[in-house]
Amino acid sequence: MLQRVGYSLVALIGVVSIVFGILHLSGDPVLLLVPEGATQQDIDNLRHALGFDRPLYVQYFEYLRNLSRVDLGVSIIQQIPVLEIVLSRVSFTLYLALGGFFVAAGIGFPVGVILGVFRGSLGAKIAVPLVLVGQSMPTFWSGIMLIIIFSVNLGWLPSSGAREFSSIILPSIALGALSMATFARITRACILEEISKDYVTAANAKGISFTRVVFHHIIPNASLPIITVVALEVANLLTGAVIVETVFAWPGVGLLAIEAIEARDFLLVQAIVLFGSLIYIILNLVADFLYAYVDPRVKLVATP
């Protein structure tokens, strides 16, 4: 278990190094940070002030030291610590991810059960296209289609922003569709695996009603592996939010990233990438722990 946490730390340092590497890919990182229209004198001053004229390895360790003190720098444009800006928007992204999760789980799990238990039934025939569409629909397109149908034509729901509660409905559907398909497929696969086991045959032979077998035995047993997928899907929902937030002008971290690129606020972009990767790594760790917890046969020894 400690080893697994150690791997996550290695991954974190790796991510930081990659981000540092990309920052220096451009040749001169100062040019990314100066405001437009800066003179050569300004550029030289800033380069010296930020220490970009020192050897690369010195800069690297300085960079690690700042990060370890949770110092991500101050936004050149807004003159506020970038971390503050990011944190002020995090709650919106979390709401959206939560909404997407409700859509994904609320539809995905029941659909998966139907597909697994009642194969070939009418319900399954209706559910299959739902899964296929959810899996192949680009979120940026389904989002726009939802806006056209429910906002522009029907006028039922707001098309953008986060002013009222109903604003979250359309973005949640657009965001949740892909995870819904994943949940449905995983649930279905787990149930199919469970339903073919001997105890199910035995229960049927004993004359226990099929509904009872499904709800008291198959679903509880099948749900263990499903739980572990949840943490990974939450990570996917959070990264998927970048596109959905842009479509619906939802003021979360994803939209912030796009705004930061347009404003050439590089430190802010970097902070968002590091922050997002950190969350992603933590959620992956949680998924592994959950996996070991629900299935004690799994030992947390990663393959080399």
Binding site: P129, Q270, V273
Partner: protein, 283 residues
């Protein structure tokens, strides 16, 4: 035939329908100048935002025009080129690189194995879209950068599969016997291991191809990929978003193309997975 755990797609077979769709789109993309004789960037400002079926007398716009009076059909046809090109290049690069080092890790083991597989883990723990955002912020958006970012983020998927497969193949007797009889390592890797681990990699590459098309569309939509005036389905959608109440066709039609292509690739990929790898669960 006993239905496997992946038989979800059985409802919409025959698969050849989807293969045919893909083939058509591929041919249209390759022979774009013959499909349509128009220039995707030709602007006719007198015919802006005209609906499908609009005719100026001298010219007929089957799918209407965009905000600059460009023919939407022509732009979609040329957009298919960009989508397929980006997906093809990024999949080729990441497949080649990922498989090579995955095989090396699985065959030579030892320090190389640890180094390569740890690197793969690290790369998998950065969300691809965030890495793309960072790279584009630093290097600026362009077609080449888009391909490189996608290849850069996706190689670990192939490495993991190639590694696991190589591990299971490398222990078999025929590999050992050819190693003992003095066959060079390169030859063993290329002639004996690679052909035996190819099937799951082809399945993965097919599904990744669909994903890359979605990524290209998504990043171009965000303004981080293909830049205007180059036609890409994602960038057409991105501009069309400003006209959803007046010109629905600009956002609807390229999206349908994207959807159909990705759906077809998903069906094909799952079909191949059933064929090649009957043990895999429906993931």
């Amino acid at each position: 035939m006993q239905a496997g755990p992946n038989d979800l797609w059985v409802f919409i077979r025959p698969v050849w329908v989807f293969v045919l769709v893909l083939l058509c789109i591929f041919l249209i993309a390759v022979f774009a100048p013959f499909v349509t004789s128009h220039d995707p960037n030709y602007q006719n400002l007198l015919a802006r935002l005209k609906p499908p079926g609009y005719s100026t007398g001298s010219r007929f716009y089957l799918l209407g025009t965009d905000e600059l009076g460009r023919d939407l059909l022509t732009r979609i046809v040329y957009g298919a080129r960009i989508s397929l090109l980006v997906a093809f290049l990024s999949v080729s690069i990441s497949l080649t690189f990922g498989v090579l080092i995955g095989m090396v890790a699985g065959y030579f083991r030892g320090f190389l194995e640890v180094l390569i597989m740890r690197m793969a883990d690290i790369f998998l723990s950065i969300p691809a879209i965030l890495l793309a955002i960072l790279t584009v912020a630093v290097l600026g958006p362009s077609l080449l950068n888009l391909v490189l970012v996608l290849a850069f983020t996706r190689w670990p998927r192939y490495t993991r599969v190639a590694y696991a497969q190589t591990l299971s193949v490398a222990g078999s007797l025929y590999i050992k016997s050819s190693a003992y009889s003095g066959t060079s390592n390169t030859r063993i890797l290329m002639r004996h291991i690679l052909p035996n681990i190819l099937a799951p990699l082809i399945v993965l590459a097919t599904l990744e191809f669909g994903l890359m098309i979605l990524f290209e569309g998504g990043l171009s939509f965000l303004g981080l990929g293909v830049q205007p005036p180059m036609p890409s389905w994602g960038s057409i959608l991105s501009v069309g978003r400003n006209y959803i109440s007046s010109a629905w066709w600009i956002v609807t039609l390229p999206g349908i193309c994207l959807f159909v292509v990705v759906l077809s690739i998903n069906v094909l990929g799952d079909f191949l997975r059933d064929k090649f790898d009957p043990r895999s669960l429906g993931r």
